[in-house]
C-alpha cells in the first residue's frame, strides 16, 4: 500500500485492488472496506502504521477460535474431506506426524478406495510417519473401511484415527451422499465420531472455495478448515470471504510437501499474507 496519511479514493481503490488480487473476492472486499471506512474516521487513524494495525485486528476478528474437542471415549476420529487434489492425503500425514510427536497412538485409514494408488500413497505415508494403517481392497465401500478400521482402533487402544476420503467435487450429489453415509456409519460405530470433520482447501483456489465450503457443509457439518499450499504465491484470501459467511475455524496451514510442513493458523498473520 502506498504510504499515505490521506484516506482518499485512491487509497481505497488501491486497497481494493490488493484484496481482490489476494482472492478475497469482490463482494467480501466491499464488505470489508465498508467496515473499515467508518472505523478509520472514528478511531482517528492517521497513518499507514495505524491503518495496518486496524486492518490486522479487523481481519483477525473474522476468524473463530478452534473449538475444544470433547472425546468421551477414545479414539478421536478425524474425517478429511475436500475436492480433488487439494492435499487431503498429504495433510493427514502432517496431522498424524504432529499427533505422533505429541505421544498419541495414531492410525491412518485408507478411505479413498477409488483413485488409482490412493491406498498405496497413504500406506507409504503411514510407514514414514510410523503410524498404524488400515485399508481394504481397491473399490471397497469407504464406509465399510472406516467401520472396520474403528473396530481395530478401539480394540488396539488407538488415541487418534485419521480417515482419508476420495477427492470429490461438491456438485456431485452421489459423492456427497457417499460422504453422508461415511459419517453416518462412523457415528453409529463410535460415540461422538467423527469428532473433527476437516475440510481441506487449496490456497490457489479462487471464489469456488465458497461454493465448496457451502455444499460440503450442507452434506456434513464441518468443524475445521485446513488451507494448503501457502508456500506458493497464492494468498488464500478467499478465507476472508468464507469467514464472512461461515463460522468455521481454520486450524492449520500447509506449507509444503513434507510431513513437517504444517503450521498452526494465526489470524493476526492474515494481514501480512494478504498485503505482503
Amino acid at each position: 500500500l502506498s504510504i499515505t496519511s490521506k484516506f482518499d479514493d485512491e487509497f481505497w481503490e488501491e486497497l481494493e485492488e490488493i484484496l481482490i488480487m489476494a482472492d478475497v473476492g469482490f463482494t467480501a472486499t466491499q464488505k470489508l472496506l465498508d467496515q473499515l471506512r467508518p472505523k478509520v474516521r472514528k478511531e482517528k487513524i492517521e497513518d499507514a502504521e495505524g491503518f495496518k494495525e486496524l486492518l490486522k485486528q479487523e481481519l483477525a476478528s473474522l476468524f473463530p477460535e478452534p473449538r475444544k474437542i470433547r472425546v468421551s471415549k477414545p479414539p478421536e476420529v478425524v474425517l478429511m474431506i475436500g475436492v480433488n487434489g487439494v492435499g487431503k492425503t498429504t495433510t493427514i500425514a502432517k496431522l498424524a506426524h504432529r499427533a505422533q510427536m505429541q505421544g498419541k497412538k495414531v492410525m491412518m485409514v485408507a478411505g479413498d478406495t477409488f483413485r488409482a494408488a490412493a491406498i498405496e500413497q497413504l500406506n507409504i505415508w503411514a510407514k514414514r510417519v510410523g503410524a498404524g494403517f488400515y485399508a481394504k481392497e481397491d473399490g471397497a465401500d469407504p464406509a465399510a473401511v472406516a467401520y472396520e478400521a474403528l473396530d481395530k482402533a478401539i480394540e488396539e487402544g488407538y488415541d487418534t484415527v485419521f480417515v482419508d476420503t476420495a477427492g470429490r467435487l461438491h456438485t456431485k450429489v452421489n459423492l456427497m451422499d457417499e460422504l453422508k453415509k461415511i459419517k453416518r456409519v462412523v457415528s453409529k460405530k463410535h460415540p461422538g465420531a467423527p469428532h473433527r470433520t476437516i475440510l481441506v482447501l487449496d490456497a490457489t483456489t479462487g471464489q469456488n472455495a465458497l461454493s465448496q465450503t457451502q455444499l460440503f457443509s450442507e452434506a456434513v457439518p464441518i468443524d475445521e478448515i485446513v488451507l494448503t499450499k501457502l508456500d506458493g504465491t497464492a494468498k488464500g484470501g478467499v478465507i476472508v470471504a468464507i469467514a464472512l459467511e461461515h463460522n468455521i475455524p481454520i486450524t492449520f496451514i500447509g506449507l509444503g510437501e513434507k510431513m513437517e510442513d504444517l503450521e498452526i493458523f494465526i489470524p493476526e498473520r492474515v494481514v501480512n499474507r494478504l498485503m505482503g
Partner: protein, 292 residues
C-alpha cells in the same frame, strides 16, 4: 445471470438510443463484477473491460436486441476471441515419436490427464507410451502404471530411485526403438517459484525436445493463475494449456487469465475422473460459463 443484470441496467434505453460513455459505464461495472466473481485476474479483467468499452461506445442500439443484450453480445464475442477463437488440437504432424510433456502445480491433474490423453490418442489410432517421471510423490509411479494398465497402454518402468531427466530421455529412446508414436511425460507437480525443480523441467525439455509442453491447470484457480502460468511459460515456452475439473461449478476465469498472460492455446479440458473425461476445448462454451 449477467444478461439479466445488464438488461436491468439498460432498461430505460430502447430502440433508437446510442450506447454512450455514461450508460456503458454502469453496464461495464456489472461485467467487471461477473469477471472477478469468475476468478478472472484483476488486471486481465481491467484490460478486457477497456476493449469492450471501445467496441461498445457509439454503437447504435439495434432494434432487434435490447442494449443489455447488445453489451452481452459484445462481451461474449470478445471473450471467445480472447479465449482462442476456435479449438486447436495437438501438434501431431512431426516424425514419431511425438513427445508431449505435462507440467503444472501440485494436484492440478497432470497424471490423470496424461492417461486421458493416451486413451484419446489411441482412439485416434496412435500408439502412445506413458512415462511416469514423478519420483517424489509417494506412489506417483504406481498411480500412472495403474491407470496405464486400466486402458492397456504400455508405460515406462520408472522407479523412484531414478533421476527424472534420465527417465524421460531413456523412455523416449525406448519409444523410438519400440515404434510408439507418442510419448507422454508425466512430471511431478511443483511450485513455479521452486528454482531447482523448475530447472529440472528445463533439463527434461532440453534432453527430450518435446513437440508439445502442456501446462495443466485447475479450473478453480484464482488470481494467482497469472503468476504461475507466466513463470512456467517464461522458462518452458509451453505450447498449450489443459484446464482440469471443468465439470464442477468453478466459473473458470483462470482460463482467460492464463490465455491472456501466455498467449498459448487452450487445447483440452478435463471433465471428470474417468479416463474418457477429456474434451477438446471450445471457447464459446467456456465464455458462457465465465459470464455466469
Amino acid at each position: 445471470s449477467l444478461s439479466d443484470r445488464l438488461n436491468s441496467v439498460f432498461k430505460k434505453l430502447k430502440g433508437h438510443g446510442r450506447l454512450d460513455e455514461k450508460n456503458i459505464q454502469e453496464g461495464l461495472r456489472e461485467v467487471r463484477l461477473a469477471l472477478l466473481e469468475a476468478d478472472v485476474n484483476y488486471k486481465v479483467a481491467r484490460d478486457f473491460i477497456q476493449r469492450v468499452k471501445e467496441r461498445a461506445l457509439g454503437q447504435d442500439v439495434l432494434k432487434s436486441l435490447t442494449p443489455g443484450q447488445q453489451v452481452v453480445k459484445i462481451v461474449h464475442e470478445e471473450l471467445i476471441e480472447l479465449l482462442g477463437g476456435q479449438s486447436q488440437g495437438l501438434n501431431l504432424k512431426a516424425r514419431p515419436p511425438i513427445v508431449i510433456m505435462l507440467v503444472g502445480l501440485q494436484g492440478s491433474g497432470k497424471t490423470t490427464t496424461a492417461a486421458k490423453l493416451a486413451l484419446f490418442l489411441r482412439r485416434m489410432k496412435h500408439a502412445p507410451y506413458l512415462v511416469p517421471a514423478d519420483v517424489y510423490r509417494p506412489a506417483a509411479i504406481e498411480q500412472l502404471h495403474k491407470l496405464a494398465s486400466e486402458i492397456n497402454i504400455p508405460a515406462y518402468p520408472s522407479s523412484s530411485d531414478m533421476d527424472p531427466v534420465d527417465i524421460c530421455r531413456n523412455a523416449v529412446e525406448e519409444a523410438r526403438k519400440s515404434a510408439y508414436s507418442v510419448v507422454l511425460l508425466d512430471t511431478a507437480g511443483r511450485l513455479h517459484i521452486d528454482e531447482k525443480l523448475m530447472q529440472e523441467l528445463v533439463a527434461i525439455k532440453s534432453e527430450c525436445q518435446p513437440h508439445e509442453i502442456l501446462f495443466v491447470a485447475d479450473a478453480m484457480t484464482g488470481q494467482d493463475a497469472v503468476n504461475v502460468a507466466a513463470r512456467f511459460n517464461e522458462l518452458l515456452d509451453v505450447t498449450g494449456i489443459v484446464l482440469t475439473k471443468m465439470e464442477g461449478d468453478a466459473r473458470g476465469g483462470a482460463a482467460l487469465s492464463i490465455k491472456s498472460v501466455t498467449q498459448k492455446p487452450i487445447k483440452f479440458i478435463g471433465v471428470g475422473e474417468k479416463l474418457s473425461d477429456l474434451e477438446v476445448f471450445h471457447p464459446d462454451r467456456v465464455a458462457s460459463r465465465i459470464l455466469g
